[in-house]
């Protein structure tokens, strides 16, 4: 018998599925929800926290209403993905990883969304936009800004 009692093993993928569920509902992982999930899954909170902090899909901070992922995959990068990021940072007045003051957008980079033939590419929430040029970005942002009005 192990000296330190081992936590019961979970069904495959159960822990990640739980974290995805919370993330889908709140857009991030609130502490109270993590505590509930730890109780529900019968795992230590520390395990949940350490797992959640390992993966880039999860955040412990509230996010903007829309998340913009700027692809920095190889094909996007060599076709100007870095300039798309520069332009968005200047338009939104935030750096990658930050949320705009009006809480509308969170700007993130991602290493490849798998639309390499369309590079450079950004993804806003579930929508992917390809064959971008910096001068096409304002029209895309406007679409989301107008939804709020």
């Amino acid at each position: 018998m192990p000296l330190i009692p081992q936590p019961p093993s979970l069904p495959g993928g159960a822990l990640l599925a739980q974290l995805h569920g919370i993330n889908a509902e709140y857009g991030y992982l609130p502490e109270a929800e993590l505590r509930n999930a730890a109780n529900e899954l019968q795992v230590p909170l520390s395990q949940l926290y350490s797992t959640a902090s390992f993966y880039s899909a999860f955040s412990f901070e509230p996010r903007g209403r829309h998340t913009i992922h700027v692809c920095q995959g190889t094909a996007c990068y060599i076709r100007g993905g870095d300039k798309i990021l520069d332009k968005l940072e200047s338009m939104l007045k935030v750096k990658a990883g930050e949320t705009t003051d009006d809480q509308l957008f969170t700007l993130e980079t991602v290493y490849c969304v798998g639309s390499c033939s369309m590079g450079p590419v950004i993804r806003v929430d579930g929508d992917t936009y390809g064959r971008l040029r910096p001068d096409r970005l304002s029209r895309i942002l406007k679409k989301y800004q107008e939804q709020e009005v």
Binding site: G13, A14, A75
Partner: protein
């Protein structure tokens, strides 16, 4: 309904044929992620609305990706009794015109890329039918391709198991379960010569045999769909466009090794793939093609889908296992290999998406058929995502043994905008950059490794004269540094140091001594890292040092970036005699460094300029010069 017999499969096949080739006009829109990124959703909506407005009775289907992404949005139109006609770069306006043409019964030749003959039908293009439009296989992009893994992609409705079955789907599973013993299934895969398409190229049959022979129950099979290499999207396409081919392959693998539980681990960045596989597993369960006593054979098999959460290292098999178990996605030393001790310490086979999609083609057609494709020791086909600075981007499946030149020049159509191709990068962050003078190399696991790159899972990024190879190396090291899980020191610290040195070099602060230091650290990281991520992370550095040392030397000695990319080493100026004063660059400059009166030459404030080159890209008259 539960599928119990061959005749049940035939019933589904008939249903699939009736939707594949309906007695009314049918329009299929390529709506995998790449198609959507090109605007396919708006095209689909326009087709639907226009058809509704005209009261036209037609079948409108969202299909997957046919591979020629350069030409997206792609729409194919089939009039009963005729071949499918594929239209390229379709806009919503163009979509409405197509509906109007369809209403008159006459398809336009304009915008038609190719004609796709219906499968299993002897097709001869009728004289006069779309004069001058080639058959799909006659296009340079397709003529050298041989589709096995991508056999259904873009041709069927990915949500229809009936259409999958109509194109010979589940014949392999039926043969395996009803005619072959598990050992015979393994032998078939072994004799086919199939090697793991995830990149390492380990013989699939041998892996299955080891797991089959390993003591211990239960056993598990896992499909690795954690395609993390930036610049690669083969697995996404297969999962989105033909999910049943993977599920069938996984079920066969389970039967071969004696596992009753399978997992499909899909990358978080691929939401549509997750959706498609989830839907396919549910449907297969409904029909009894998963679950208890499949096809009345007594074999039980279930599949659980696990969605990753954004960690590149989870593509490494031991890290992936840990991630499924609910832990951190950290690798562990091998041996023991997962085939002996994997998920929860049990014997586990992990196969790539493309490997499993191949298995579901091999069992029904036989090992000899597969072994006859490709070259000695490298049987079969591989899929590459041909992207970057190449004229024809897309997904390409070719027999092994084709040369890089055939890939890039014949299929890819050469450089983008007619520019000279300088290098090709294969294998993602684990691979290397090969120079144009090596393009006559045939593509095989061994040749690419000897040349300093790797086959990898299939990323093939073409680079031209405007790509800086030092910056590319820095880019990859930034990637591996960020994605290193941090468990072992050589990878965690080594990638950081290499990135630091490369950053110094691209900023013009490097010295010739840095090149030696870089090489030395690279060799240490390669030798001493725990898992594949660290062991291969130096490849982009070592291969560029080997083939593009002159570019490194220009950076450290002359403080010059020959490609005009590295921001600290270039200056942007507006040539007053060319500038028309249109103001576009002024509007697009992210830092407000450009000023000037309308219709007068503009100037760039060098103090403010961040050298991003957006002005260079947007200038309609080419008035911006990069001083290097």
């Amino acid at each position: 309904m539960k599928v119990r017999t061959h005749s049940d499969l035939e019933t589904l096949r008939a249903k699939g044929i009736s939707t594949l080739y309906p007695p009314r006009p049918k329009i299929s829109v390529g709506m995998a992620t790449c198609g959507r990124a090109a605007g396919a959703t708006a095209v689909y909506d326009a087709l639907r609305d226009e058809a509704d407005a005209r009261g036209l009775d037609l079948a409108l289907v969202a299909t997957g990706c046919i591979g020629y992404c350069q030409q997206e949005p792609l729409v194919d139109v089939r009039v009963p009794g005729q071949a499918r006609v594929l239209y390229a770069r379709v806009t919503p306006d163009r979509a409405r015109e197509l509906i109007a043409a369809l209403a008159t019964g006459e398809l336009p030749a304009e915008g038609a890329l190719a004609v796709i003959p219906d499968r299993n039908q002897v097709f001869q293009k009728k004289p006069g039918f779309l004069e001058g439009v080639p058959l799909l296989d006659e296009l340079p992009f397709y003529s050298r391709q041989r589709k096995i893994i991508l056999r259904n992609c873009g041709l069927i409705d990915p949500t229809s198991i009936e259409e999958y079955i109509a194109r010979d789907g589940y014949q392999s599973l039926a043969r395996a379960l009803l005619e072959l013993a598990p050992q015979e299934v393994i032998d078939e895969v072994l004799h086919s010569g199939l090697r793991g398409r995830g990149g390492a190229g380990f013989p699939t049959g041998r892996k299955w045999q080891i797991c089959h022979d390993a003591p211990g129950q239960p056993k598990y099979v896992i499909c690795n769909g954690d395609e993390g290499d930036p610049g690669a999207y083969m697995d996404r396409t297969v999962l989105e466009s033909d999910p049943y081919s993977v599920i069938e392959g996984l079920t066969i693998a389970g039967y071969g090794i004696g596992a009753h539980q399978g997992y499909v681990y899909v990358r978080d960045e691929y939401p549509l793939a997750v959706e498609r596989v989830t839907q396919a597993v549910a449907r297969a369960n409904e029909l009894g093609l998963l679950g208890k006593d499949i096809l009345g054979s007594g074999f039980d098999f279930n599949i659980t889908i696990v969605r990753g959460a954004g960690a590149f290292v989870c593509g490494e098999e031991t890290a992936l296992i840990s991630s499924i178990e609910g832990g951190l996605g950290e690798p562990r030393p091998r041996p023991p290999f997962p085939a002996i001790s994997g998920l929860w310490g049990q014997p586990t086979v992990i196969n790539n998406v493309k490997t499993l999609a191949t298995v579901s083609a091999i069992i029904s057609r036989g090992a000899d058929w597969y072994a006859s494709i490709g070259v000695e020791g490298n049987a079969g086909t591989v899929v590459f995502s041909l992207v970057g600075k190449v004229a024809n981007t897309g997904l390409v499946e070719v027999p092994l043994g084709l040369t890089l030149r055939e890939m890039i020049e014949s299929i890819g159509g050469g450089g983008l905008d007619g520019k000279a191709v300088k290098a090709v990068q294969t294998g993602g962050p684990s691979g290397g950059c090969l120079p144009a003078r090596l393009f006559d190399l045939p593509i095989s696991y061994e040749t690419l490794t000897e040349a300093g790159s790797i086959m990898g899972s299939g990323g093939m990024v073409v680079m031209d004269e405007d790509t800086c190879m030092v910056d590319v190396a820095r880019y990859f090291l930034a990637f591996t540094m960020a994605e290193s899980c941090g468990k072992c020191t050589p990878c965690r610290e080594g990638t950081r140091y290499m990135h630091e040195i490369l950053t110094r070099i691209v900023e013009g602060k490097g010295t010739p001594k840095d090149l030696e230091l870089l090489e030395e650290i690279a060799l240490w990281v390669k030798a001493a890292s725990l898992c594949g991520l660290g062991q291969t992370a130096p490849n982009p550095v070592l291969s560029t040092l080997r083939y593009f040392r002159d570019e490194y030397e220009a950076h450290v000695t002359d403080k010059r970036c020959p490609a005009g990319v590295c921001r600290a080493l270039i200056q942007l100026i507006i040539q007053p005699d060319l500038c028309t004063g249109c103001g576009l660059c002024q509007r697009e400059c992210p830092v407000g460094a450009i000023s000037g009166e309308k219709k007068e030459p503009h100037v760039i404030n060098q103090e403010l300029c961040m050298h991003c080159r957006i002005c260079y890209d947007v200038c309609p008259v080419g008035a911006i010069e990069i001083v290097r």
